[in-house]
């Protein structure tokens, strides 16, 4: 799908700076009602990292690039830039031209004048991510990557004041509408960072005017603006009257559902929906009832209730189908995996499953072969996930659907392997180390009911091969901290794509990322060498081959057992049209519409 600019920016300039939006009767408004299952934290792009805030932010701010709505795997397209960035041959310099005539939404900070979007706004927004004062969880997107930026950061740490006016060699605007970014190292995948929904342009006047309260005053160039905001309870967005003219345009597709979407949306002025009303509802049961009463138009957070509306084969149950309710079912761009700490020690204790000697690898291999992923999918996930074999999930560049893991379920072979390496069973049926000392595996999980099911599955699987298991219970945030310090032996983990590129997943196993995202603390010289090679390559067959070798290397060392990727089941009321779950974009409602003719007449009261 290609989005086109139907009108030039000149017309926008001709508009009065603060136009009074045509008064429409409230009943004529198209309103989409949504729920969040957790509260937002705020709408300042440089200060948040949670999904829910990002959903709202992506409706208000414009990143330079974005993704095609229908193409899979996700495909980069320009957003406010004229075209995709021009990348220098060495993969170090990115140059972009911004479309002229785009203006920010209204705000008192602009004193009634139209405020055009300039390249400088993006440079400012990028600098805000690394400003130590903002403590952005996404600073890693830019830190160490842009020439001269780190020096500015260390200066700011010393003086306590980030100098936004200082020139940075890597962040230049040769003219008001041209942007040039210089990277410290070759990286052909940096475009994904520029498409990351949080990397949208903020206006410096607005940020400086509201200071610490910037989270409640998002002003961007995007299709929506904040209409009403009650913290942790209600968020209401309305069409940004100053939004540029954007039409829904797509090429004919062979995919039948896509064709239906194309038919209903083609040529429409975007955004088509006037208002987005979001309420925060923690409980799945409440969200489900609200959807059944048609108080919400779209619901996608009903994992635990899936058996209520889905048949085991993943179709909508007939009572709901008859009502015209639509189901959009897709696999999330995420992987779940069981990781093994491969470091020799945990704290100052020896790690019974760590190290790269044959008996240790055999022990990890046996655990991986005994863990029953089939039961995890059928019983714990209730069929709402698919087996994952490859570290890169579907919908993400680099995914290989035909790949099969060399770690397959086979407890009998696992037992034979342990016998071979001298892990002998004692009188109680549990094995000890080859040297006769006690062998106890420690598995970490959180004290919630869902994790108890994982505990049981783990215990059953380990009992089958005679390994004694102890379970360590801790809160989620605590476990995250411990795992980044390499202090956990085994744990289940999941990772969802930040951007739809395989690198986002492969970096989880890169040795130098130990202490950050590499929870297995996996350090393999050959893996790291392959990974470094892959970073210098754009997406393509050459990089895919490296990823394949890296995956097999990880299996040979048995640092992870990949388990599954979950389905995302989105329920839509009959009158909601144009929805297709995107692997990374969270603001599908920009591309959707409400078809009033399919709306049921409200019962006469």
């Amino acid at each position: 799908m290609v989005m086109v600019w139907a009108l030039s920016g000149l017309e926008l300039k001709a508009q009065p700076p603060v136009p009074s939006s045509a008064p429409t009767a409230p009943s004529a408004l198209k309103v989409l009602h949504l729920t969040f299952q957790a509260a937002e934290t705020g709408f300042d792009p440089a200060k948040v990292s949670d999904y829910y805030s990002a959903v709202v932010i992506s409706g208000i701010f414009d990143p330079l690039l974005t993704y095609d709505y229908l193409a899979r795997p996700a495909h980069l397209i320009p957003n406010v830039s004229e075209a995709l960035p021009t990348i220098s041959a060495d993969g170090k310099t990115y140059t972009l031209k911004i479309k002229q005539g785009i203006v920010f939404g209204q705000d008192p900070a602009f004193a009634g004048r139209a405020r055009p979007l300039r390249a400088q706004d993006y440079l400012y927004s990028i600098k805000r991510f690394v400003d130590p004062k903002n403590r952005s969880p996404y600073a890693f997107l830019f830190l160490g990557k842009i020439v001269g930026l780190d020096a500015l950061v260390s200066k700011a740490q010393k003086t306590g004041q980030f100098d936004y006016d200082a020139a940075v060699e890597g962040l230049q605007a040769p003219d008001p509408f041209t942007l040039s970014i210089k990277l410290t190292e070759t990286d052909f995948n940096f475009s994904h960072v520029l498409a990351f929904p949080l990397v949208g342009a903020v206006a410096r006047e607005v940020i400086e005017r509201y200071g610490a309260d910037s989270s409640a005053h998002p002003v961007g160039t995007g299709p929506y603006r904040l209409r009403q905001y009650l913290r942790s309870s209600k968020i209401s967005l309305e069409k940004n009257p100053l939004f540029r003219t954007l039409r829904w345009e797509a090429l004919p597709s062979t995919d039948i559902p896509d064709e239906a979407i194309r038919k209903s949306m083609q040529g429409k002025l975007l955004p088509a929906i006037d208002r987005i009303e979001i309420s925060i509802m923690d409980e799945a049961q409440s969200r489900w009832l609200a959807f059944l009463r048609a108080e919400t138009d779209m619901e996608y957070q009903l994992e635990e209730l899936a058996p209520k509306f889905l048949t085991p084969t993943g179709e909508l149950k007939s009572p709901f189908r008859e009502q015209g309710i639509q189901l959009d079912r897709s696999v999330d761009p995420e992987i779940s995996y069981l990781f093994f700490n491969t470091a020799e020690t945990i704290g100052n204790q020896p790690n019974p499953i760590g190290g790269f000697t044959l008996p240790k690898i055999a022990l990890r291999r046996a655990i991986a072969m005994a863990y029953d992923v089939q039961d995890q999918i059928a019983v714990i996930r209730k069929g709402q996930s698919v087996r994952a074999f490859y570290p890169i999930p579907p919908g993400v560049a680099g995914h290989q659907s035909q790949y099969r893991s060399s770690l397959s379920y086979n407890p009998a072979l696992a037992n034979a392997l342990l016998d071979h390496f001298g892990y002998r069973r004692g009188a109680d049926g549990y094995r000890s180390h080859p040297d006769g000392s006690a062998l106890i595996l420690e598995y970490a999980s959180t004290p919630v009911e869902r994790d108890r099911q994982f505990d049981e599955l783990m215990k059953r699987s380990m009992d089958r091969i005679g390994l004694r298991l102890s379970i360590r219970k801790q809160r989620f945030s605590e476990l995250l901290k411990l795992s980044s310090q390499c202090r956990l032996m085994m744990k289940q983990a999941a990772w969802i794509a930040d951007y739809p590129d395989g690198d986002n997943f492969m970096q989880l196993l890169y040795g130098p990322h130990t202490g950050q995202s590499n929870a297995a603390c996996y350090r393999s010289a050959s893996f790291d060498r392959l990974y470094e090679q892959s970073r210098r390559l754009p997406d393509g067959a050459q990089r895919d081959l490296l990823y394949l070798q890296m995956t097999r290397q990880m299996e040979a060392d048995t640092a992870w057992l990949l388990t599954d990727s979950r389905y995302r089941n989105v329920l839509l009321q009959p009158y909601v049209v144009g929805f297709k779950k995107h692997p990374v974009l969270t603001n599908e409602w920009i591309h959707m519409d409400i078809d009033r003719t399919r709306m049921k007449k409200a019962p006469a009261s």
Partner: protein, 348 residues
Amino acid sequence: MRQSERVAVFAVLAPQGLWSLAWSRLCRDTLGLIALGVVVMYLAVVLAAAAGWIAKDWSHEAGVNYAPPNGWIFSASPSEDRLPVARESIQVTPVAGVVDPLAPVIETLRESRLALAQEPQRLATLPLGADKWGRDVALKTLKGTQTSFIVGLLAAFLSVLLGSLLGAYAGYFGGIVDDVLNWIYSTFTAIPYLLLVLAIAAVLNQKGISTVILILGLTGWTGVFRLMRAEYMKHRNREYVLAAESIGASHARRMFYHILPNVSHVLLVQLSLNVVSFMKSEVILSFLGFGVGVDTVSWGSMLNEAQTELLLGKWWQLASATLAMALLVTAFSVFTDALRDALDPKLK
């Protein structure tokens, strides 16, 4: 003959003790006896399970996942909601440039046929059905009886012991002793119950049955304390206590020999109430992750599992645990009531 007749007459005339009187009164209460029978039956199950005579291999996966009950007690039609589980036999293609250090060993093991997988036979139905892993719900219920009964009973004993001891001292002595104990009582009750439970759980920082008993016992004594304190304040100046004092009975003797039997019906009622409420609290603790571990089964953990099972329409685990619990709780309450009537000195 004559002599033995005299002995018999003497025996009949001998004053009956409190307990034998109570026993004879209890024997006249049919409902109480039935309840006692049920409680004794449960106790037998608990002892047998503890000794390992029954339900030893409750964690054995005897049936298929969610095998339905076979109709002896409950019946349910086999679910059509099950996906065929086919284990994929995976062909692994080698990747050039990567060496698996274990490949030669695994190849030998595969060839030696040591590693032949054998899937055990599993039953399609079980008397009370199976849980999500195919474990027999009947065995789980029996084994769960052991855990829940022991937790409820021991925690109730602990709380009643603590509560009555402190209550007796506070009510009997009054003054500064009362003030200090009341202060402790107020502190404990000022903290919301669950917060207190979590605080103690965090301090103990261990999982297991003994931890649960300690947590419940240490938090549950306040109600007993309040009642016992009031009873002791009431009884302290009664004539029989003053009479006991006048013949030189010590404080301890007056408190625990003279007053205690007269207030024991309160204790028994509290004991039974606590047994019931602690069995339920064990459910809450299991839910919050401070309950029994995965290698133990209790009614609490069964009910917890039932939450998610009910969504799938698998009701048998819930039914078994609830029935077992309801029967014991009812029997225990009825029996305690009968015991209270039998022990009350005012009811002749």
